[in-house]
């Protein structure tokens, strides 16, 4: 538990007056995300800024400092029978909530429970002028001012240092079980989407190695009744399986260096025709690909599938790793960046070379 916001502010002000750049580091567990950190920049370590600031289980809201490890947050929630429904991945024990929001990473429940971004209610942000700002709030509904809190999701720290986050939390499910069965990749997209269109307590759906996995969670009676109606075998260690998907510990994700591509597409779109291995998650909305290829060649395929592609991990990280942006949006994002960080102090080039 430490509040180091004063030090962080001083460091930013110093960098600003000295014309320096800063790479923001949370737990240091997602160094693989985004483009290579700029070699000329100093390090701003948010990892020491930790602690739960406020938590009222009955409000379903928790406020934490950005450097707090996910595991601390989850432990505090579990004591009250609550959880972060977006199931953020842990890349080791040091993954922080700040880094999780900056990367907008969510787990298997994402299509049903929402993303990290969806659960954020408010933040404190240190902008490039060294100003400590507060946006949003600690209540479920708040439409005063622009939604600067959710804007941070996916910005990879290019707009400022998130120092505090208020987020919505939810009760954990009473019961949960997983159904597994064999299925080909050609059949599975239709199958997962059809199941998702039924009013049943489905909370995860993925496909890997010729098998489809569906998770049901909620009231015990509802979970059991649905499992009895749907095909598939009840899996013995379902929880461990989903944990491995959430934390990307499943063997599909092994070998950090070989490129791992992420397609975020229309859940029903035909799978892009490419040689390689696929892991389909989020009932078809998120598809992981392992195989050879270039970002430039994959973008048209992703676009045809209604979405975007990024080089999530490995491969060449000196070039662009995120789906390219059309010129009008590029211009807007540059100006938005400039409005928060006029001197371009934070994470230069981390998200896009031009940002």
């Amino acid at each position: 538990m430490a509040d180091i916001s004063q030090q962080l502010q001083e460091q930013v002000l110093q960098a600003r007056s000295g014309g320096e750049k800063l790479n923001i580091v949370g737990g240091g567990t997602k160094a693989f995300m985004g483009r290579e950190p700029s070699p000329d920049a100093g390090t701003l370590n948010v990892g020491g800024h930790t602690g739960i600031v406020d938590y009222h289980p009955v409000e379903l809201v928790m406020t934490v400092r950005a450097g707090t490890p996910l595991s601390d947050i989850e432990a505090a929630l579990a004591e009250q029978g609550q959880a972060m429904h977006c199931e953020p991945p842990h890349f080791g024990p040091d993954s922080t909530i700040g880094g999780t929001l900056a990367c907008n990473l969510s787990g298997p429940a994402r299509p049903w429970a929402g993303s990290v971004r969806d659960q954020v209610l408010g933040i404190r942000l240190l902008n490039g002028k060294g100003e400590q700002l507060r946006f949003g709030g600690e209540v479920m509904k708040n439409v005063a001012g622009y939604d600067v809190s959710r804007l941070q999701a996916g910005a990879l720290g290019t707009l400022g240092v998130i120092t505090e986050i208020s987020m919505k939390v939810m009760p954990g499910p009473a019961a949960s079980l997983t159904l597994v069965q064999d299925m080909t990749i050609d059949e599975v997209l239709h199958y997962m989407n059809s199941r998702a269109a039924e009013p049943k307590p489905i909370t995860a759906a993925c496909w890997v190695d010729g098998k489809v996995y569906l998770r049901l969670s909620g009231a015990k009676s509802a979970v059991e009744a649905t499992a009895a109606k749907w095909s598939g075998e009840v899996m013995g260690n379902g929880q461990a399986f989903w944990r491995s998907v959430q934390d990307m510990q499943h063997e599909f994700f092994a070998n950090d260096d070989s490129p791992l591509w992420r397609f975020s597409v229309n859940s029903t779109a035909a799978n892009p025709a490419m040689e390689g291995k696929w892991f389909i998650d989020w009932a078809g909305s998120q598809r992981w690909f392992r195989g050879a290829g270039e970002l430039g060649d994959m973008e048209p395929l992703a676009r045809a599938a209604g979405g975007q592609v990024s080089l999530f991990r490995g491969g060449d990280r000196s070039g662009e790793v995120m789906h390219s942006q059309p010129n009008a949006l590029k211009a807007i994002q540059r100006r938005v960046k400039n409005s928060f960080d006029p001197d371009g102090i934070f994470n230069p080039g981390r998200l896009y070379s031009w940002l």
Binding site: S264, Q286, R335
Partner: protein, 490 residues
């Protein structure tokens, strides 16, 4: 920021008529009259002219011309907004999206729909019903309000606690920028690359762009929904029961609360069979599979009884459920019947302060000599105090506004905010200075400038000019804040 128009009204109309059907470039006062305000009719202004384009290209051309001459543009959906966000600018154009009223495509398998911005909220669920699907956010104005307006206000409804706000239920937005470019923000995928501009646009009150198409997510219609109605002899007990349900691990599809005034007014109006002697009423809807609803309804009934409910009734049929909701849904017009005018506020507070805030409001009600009825989204702490007044009595509206301002201050003081779903618009622009510091407001202005450097989109709304804030803070705020902060923590 707005530069004076360098083009006359007649010239502007002529330019628009070269590409928009002449009948839909409106310049006479009589035809423009219905556009002078939105649902917040106390704030009126006549525009320079009104234009109703029907293609995206026309919207682009309108924006390019307005950008060139620095003419303000106010987008308008159905005009049901409750913060005067769609109130015209007297030197500007009202750009009505009324002709963009088509549901372009519904994909039942992917559970999505492509909509033009003028599609009415309720029309979406009506059309999706044939596939067993519906659209989650359901503002009480859903018969009339448009999806474009919903995006601009990040609208919610009775079902937000479980199903989220507009921002949680949309995939992408096509918009025309202030400079006339068309951009698509978001995609069919759930989480895209880069900063989340879609979230920034949602709730931006027409200040960052003109929404010309929206792609939304649809949800499977629950198998069953049932509502438990519980009456209480004190607001405190009802407030505690809200927390009790949530602590029990049940997330209701809707959890609404009404106070004594509203109960009687709504019951007179709708004949819903509410317990008229109760001081507070909760309507708790549970939806899901048959089994789940069965399990949760029994638990909810038990929780309410344990926490001192004086009456508990559960809907046994769809008809009965509809009747119980009818009272809630007609609460505004019902209250409208017992008073010549009413003013609807929209603050959000941490739920644990519900009882305290309602008690304070009662004291203020006496202080200001104005009645107040409360009907609100208790599940997410979103209050809708209705202040009853008579606009024909000189000075009464001014007193109403002052009462409303005090309520919003109290919301901020207990850790809440000045608007949960109706937006800032013109109406709450002064209160922005209570919730935000000058540096924060300046950051908002800078964000606005990133989208609209010339400041032509809905100028004067949403974010106050800084000079104005300092005056407001020093004049009105200081003495109040002190009292309420002490009370809140007392």
């Amino acid at each position: 920021m707005t530069t004076k128009p360098k083009i006359s009204k007649a010239e502007l109309a002529d330019q628009f008529r070269t590409f928009v059907d002449a009948d839909f470039v409106i310049t006479d006062d009589e035809t423009m009259k219905p556009y002078e305000c939105d649902g917040m009719s106390m704030y009126c202004e006549m525009p320079l002219l009104v234009v109703l384009p029907e293609t995206v290209t026309q919207v682009q051309r309108i924006m390019r011309i307005c950008h060139e001459y620095g003419v303000p543009v106010v987008a308008r959906g159905a005009g049901t907004g409750l913060s005067a966000g769609a109130m015209p600018n007297k030197e500007g154009v009202v750009l009505s999206l009324a002709k963009f009223n088509r549901i372009l495509h519904i994909d039942p398998l992917a559970r999505t729909a492509n909509l033009q911005p003028g599609v009415r909220n309720l029309a979406i669920s009506e059309e999706a019903a044939q596939y067993g699907l519906y659209y989650g956010p359901d503002p009480s104005s859903q018969i009339a309000c448009t999806i474009g307006g919903n995006v601009a206000e990040n609208s919610g409804g009775v079902h937000c606690l479980k199903y989220g706000l507009t921002v949680h239920n949309i995939l992408s937005v096509e918009m025309v920028t202030a400079e006339g470019d068309v951009v698509t923000v978001g995609s069919d995928g759930l989480d895209g690359c880069g900063m989340d501009l879609l979230a920034l646009l949602t709730g931006s009150e027409g200040l960052l762009g003109i929404v010309t198409e929206v792609k939304i997510r649809l949800l499977p219609k629950p198998e069953v929904a049932q509502v438990v109605m519980a009456g209480f002899d004190s607001v405190q007990k009802a407030g505690d029961a809200v927390g009790g349900i949530i602590s029990h691990g049940i997330i209701p599809a809707g959890l609404e609360m009404m106070d004594g005034y509203a109960i009687v007014a709504a019951d007179d109006f709708a004949g819903a069979g509410y317990p008229r002697e109760a001081k507070a009423l909760l309507l708790c809807e549970v939806d899901g599979t048959e089994e789940e609803v069965h399990e949760h309804i029994a638990e909810a009934e038990a929780v309410f009884r344990k926490l001192g409910a004086t009456s508990v009734r559960t809907s046994q049929s769809e008809q009965e459920r509809a009747l119980l909701w009818l009272g809630r849904k007609s609460a505004f017009p019902a209250v409208g019947r017992i008073s010549p005018d009413y003013y609807c506020m929209d603050g959000t507070i941490p739920r644990r302060h519900i009882a305290f805030v309602l008690a304070e409001m009662e004291k203020m009600s006496e202080e200001f000599g104005l009645r107040v009825a409360n009907v609100f989204h208790a599940g997410d702490g979103n209050l809708h105090p209705l202040i009853l007044f008579d606009a024909n009595v000189p000075g009464e509206f001014e007193r109403t506004e002052a009462f409303g301002a005090s309520i919003l201050k109290m919301c901020v003081d207990v850790g809440g905010c000045i608007t949960g779903e109706h937006g800032v618009g013109v109406e709450k622009i002064r209160q922005m200075a209570i919730q935000f510091s000058d540096q924060e407001l300046e950051q908002f202005h800078d964000v606005k400038a990133a989208f609209d450097p010339a400041g032509i989109l809905n100028p004067g709304k949403g974010v106050p000019a800084l000079k104005f804030c300092q005056e407001y803070r020093s004049l009105e705020y200081k003495q109040h804040k002190h009292e309420h902060t002490e009370a809140a923590h007392g």
